[in-house]
């Protein structure tokens, strides 16, 4: 683990980039295999890719522009005026100053479970929402850490980045789905086009590969998407420390929230990735490890402890926190 938030940030950004590259490569392989496997002409794959890419982009643009309002409404968040909750406004103003961005709009969710999220495609169209539980259970320093984390999501353009990954994954899913349907119901694989220059055995092999990829690619793309989500959470933690220059506030906030057993009523599978910690509490319902949107809280705490020069948590200390990830 690296010992400065700068090097942690650099590692996170590099890993995110490599992961996206992996998804792009997967998409290109799938498109090529489908195109060559079905027609013997490699360029056909690009054409299909283009069509589905456009469809996925159009669908995503809708969520890009209207998405933050939809998420805020779905979470039953209420905007806070400048006269209400002065301490919250002040902490948001402090973190915005440190980040060098305009202060986002502040929303409140009436729920005793402590959590927070940020939405917004760029710093000028950003909103932050916190629950009443968060305000009650955290002190000022801890609140600073959480707000710093959320603002960093906005500042690092994570919403936009996650959207990009979502478009790629969605395109893979669409392309694979369409191809599989056409193969099994349209007999596409069995036909030879009139322009077929006798690619013969190789073409058949690539066709089999295309089928294989079409079944597995969406699954692996989803895994990569989750890995990117986890990387960006670590990045937001490191960026929060860059703003506050104090890992302990965020570390204590994570420990407090991890120990809390309350359930956030308004959260569900569609919105879970947005929150500060994974709001789905029941062990059976929550995904683990590779399938998780958030890194384990113990791991997040240990990375922060490294920044502070403390030793990582021992198993005994971690057990009370490991109930939640």
């Amino acid at each position: 683990m690296s010992t400065s938030f700068y090097s942690q940030q650099a590692a996170n950004r590099r890993n995110s980039f490599l992961l996206v590259l992996a998804v792009v490569a997967l998409l290109a392989a799938l498109g090529f295999a489908i195109g060559y496997g079905t027609t013997g002409v490699p360029a056909a794959g690009l054409g299909w890719l283009g069509v589905f890419g456009v469809i996925a982009i159009v669908m995503s643009l809708a969520s890009y522009f209207g998405g933050d309002r939809m998420v805020l409404a779905a979470s039953r968040a209420r905007e806070i005026g400048p006269d209400e909750l002065p301490q919250l406004h002040n902490v948001v103003a402090e973190m915005s100053l440190a980040a060098g961005i305009a202060a986002p709009r502040v929303y409140l969710i009436d729920d005793t479970a402590p959590n927070a999220f940020a939405t917004g495609r760029d710093p000028r169209h950003a909103s932050i929402a916190v629950t009443t539980g968060l305000l009650d259970k955290l002190d000022r320093e801890e609140l600073q850490g959480v707000i710093g984390h959320e603002l960093s999501h906005v500042r690092n353009f994570d919403i936009r980045y996650n959207l990009l990954v979502g478009v790629l994954v969605g395109t893979i899913a669409l392309l694979a789905d369409f191809f599989l349907r056409m193969t099994f119901w349209g007999g596409l694989g069995g036909r030879r086009s009139s322009g077929d220059r006798g690619g013969g055995g190789l073409q058949a092999l690539v066709l089999v590969l295309a089928l294989f990829l079409a079944i597995l690619a969406p699954f692996f793309a989803r895994l990569v998407q989750l890995a990117v989500s986890r990387q960006r959470e670590y990045l937001a933690d490191a960026s929060s420390v860059e703003l506050t220059r104090n890992p302990r506030g965020l570390e204590r906030a994570l420990a407090t929230i991890a120990g809390d057993r309350e359930v956030l009523e308004v959260a569900n599978r569609a919105t879970q990735h947005l929150y500060f910690t994974n709001p789905i509490k029941k062990f059976e319902q929550r995904s683990q490890g590779l399938f998780s949107t958030h890194p384990a809280i113990v791991d997040r705490i240990n990375r922060l402890r490294v920044l502070d020069g403390q030793r990582p948590l021992l198993d005994g200390e971690a057990r009370t926190l490991s109930g939640l990830e």
Binding site: Q87, N90, V91, E94, M95, L97, A98, G100
Partner: protein, 188 residues
């Protein structure tokens, strides 16, 4: 003819790169200037808040007149030092003296339970806490911007155009030695 086209393309690329570099340096320099302005905004906010705080606590703190006087005087000095409009060393010193005086005042308020519970005082204390935080965060952001800007003009390729086009290094904000002093609290 072909060589002519290749040369044209190369020159075009060089020009585009140079323009992008220049714009990047200008953007960073502007960010440094913005950060300076932000610091001044926060300092002025504090100047405006201090009289309210002093009048709110004055009635309760009969024995602490010297602390209150110190705060009022430090504020007057800071306002005077900042009148020139640009951040000078003298102004930084005066502002740090005000920080020290306010810290002493906070420490003393802890001894007065009625004051601690008074809503006006609590609200003002929160305002002052956030103002101190905002001042230090705006200075931190200033240093981060200066760091970014200085790095850009000193590393390749920025350094190629920085000198000839008048981009010079900016200074970091450094805390004055007085900032390390522990506030003096006299308990009676």
């Amino acid at each position: 003819m072909e060589i002519g086209i290749v040369l044209l393309v190369i020159v075009g690329i060089v020009i585009v790169v140079a323009v992008l570099l220049y714009n990047g340096l200008v953007a960073r320099r502007i960010r440094v200037d913005e950060a300076v302005g932000q610091i001044e905004v926060q300092l002025k906010r504090r100047h405006d808040l201090v009289p309210n705080l002093v009048s709110a606590v004055k009635g309760y703190m009969d024995f602490e007149q010297d602390v209150l006087t110190r705060v009022t005087e430090a504020r007057a000095n800071a306002v005077a030092a900042g009148a020139s409009g640009t951040l000078t060393a003298g102004q930084a010193q005066a502002e740090n003296a005000l920080t020290g005086a306010l810290r002493s005042l906070f420490a003393v308020v802890e001894n007065y339970p009625q004051l601690k519970a008074n809503e006006n005082v609590l609200a003002l204390q929160e305002q002052l806490t956030t103002t101190e935080n905002q001042i230090s965060f705006s200075r931190q952001h200033y240093n981060a911007s200066v760091n970014d800007y200085n790095t850009s003009i000193q590393t390749f390729p920025g350094m190629l155009i920085a000198g000839p086009l008048g981009f010079t290094r900016r200074e970091f904000f450094e805390a004055e030695p007085e900032a390390d002093l522990v506030p003096v609290v006299s308990l009676r």
